[in-house]
Symmetry: C2
DNA sequence: CCCTAGATTGGACACATGTCCAGTCAGTTG
DNA sequence: CAACTGACTGGACATGTGTCCAATCTAGGG
């Protein structure tokens, strides 16, 4: 099933439905923190939200869709303005900010890493939106006239780091530190 | 269950077992090419290999383990020597080589991307081995005295690209071309 | 205050995943 | 050639995933 969801002006959901969705997402978030993404099931989320599994599936196409949705909100809920004296510092402020927030919710980060690889249409849509948002942040930090390849390089390195975080090869805190060095290396000849 | 497998000198597997494993992996490879990684099930692989599902699970801890194992062999079966006049070209020869081979087996590439995120101990082991192998290749291309951060940056960008390939955001052929530019950008100030 | 659209529910379904174990079969060994 | 070790098998089990639908609530309009 394809259940849309998450359009900014709550497309086609009346108040009652919107509340149900909110409750589901909140419950999903709690459940994720409580038992981790491996143990979480849509049915336990439904239970926690006080609705039936059938209702949960009315709004969530899949477990992956839930994770993608939660991550999208996690991203969207904070508009971060890059700060810093030069381009490198501005970029680093972005990666630092993201990794710091990721470190606060490692379960969400781990969950989304594999979720985004899913093939539900709902995941697909969120995936593009999330990717676009990340690239936009890097572009903002780099300035409008930045070399597109540099933007892409930073984005690739960042997703690579996300992947390694998702695999547990490093913590998100380490990731922040390492990315500082990586950003410096990338920008060394491209400032 | 944890089923080891894939140690170089066929640790603890007698001839008969080794043949069964070979048949299973070959069948898995065929099945993957035939129906893709979403539709593949361990039971259909077992059937194709002419063994019972129970036997398949004796050697394969999970579907993810199968994919990781296949990818590891895919990687290990070709020892590529970087070529090129300068470091950039040597690096590009490595990424080109890998993406060219990936492009020949997109299903395997897509399969392994999500498989490596799994948490079976068998996947864990293969994951480290695969990551190590990739880093080793980049380090070889860069030379023994290369800045470790540069190696890491290239590795992160490469895994990021792999991730995007796995999500279907680009073909592995495009990936090869883009990585040429990315490598050039990374090395611009680090040659 | 009743009615009704439509949100919600219970519960069964089809299917995949991975586990387990008692029983069978085959290849080596004596 | 008989016995035995251990690889293999059949089949049931517990659990998760996502789908479907007839039946039931419930909020808001008339």
């Amino acid at each position: 099933m394809s259940s849309q969801l998450s359009a900014s002006p709550r497309q086609g959901l009346n108040r009652r439905q919107a509340e149900t969705v909110e409750r589901l997402l909140a419950a999903g978030h709690e459940e994720l923190g409580a038992v981790g993404h491996e143990a979480l099931t849509v049915r336990t989320v439904a239970h926690r939200a006080g609705v039936s599994p059938a209702t949960a599936y009315t709004y969530l196409a899949s477990k992956n869709h839930l994770f993608a949705e939660l991550f999208w909100r996690f991203l969207a809920e904070d508009a971060h303005e890059p700060t810093g004296a030069d381009v490198i510092e501005r970029l680093q402020s972005v990666t630092r900010h993201l990794t710091r927030r990721l470190a606060e919710e490692p379960e969400l980060a781990a969950a989304v890493t594999s979720a985004l690889l899913g093939s539900d249409p709902d995941v697909e849509r969120l995936r593009l939106r999330i990717g676009g948002e990340l690239v936009a942040r890097f572009r903002t930090a780099l300035g409008a006239d930045a070399d597109p390849v540099v933007v892409e390089t930073v984005a690739l390195a960042f997703s690579g780091a996300l992947l390694q975080g998702g695999m547990g090869l490093m913590t998100y805190t380490e990731m922040g530190e390492r990315l500082d060095a990586v950003v410096a290396v990338i920008m060394r000849g491209n400032a």
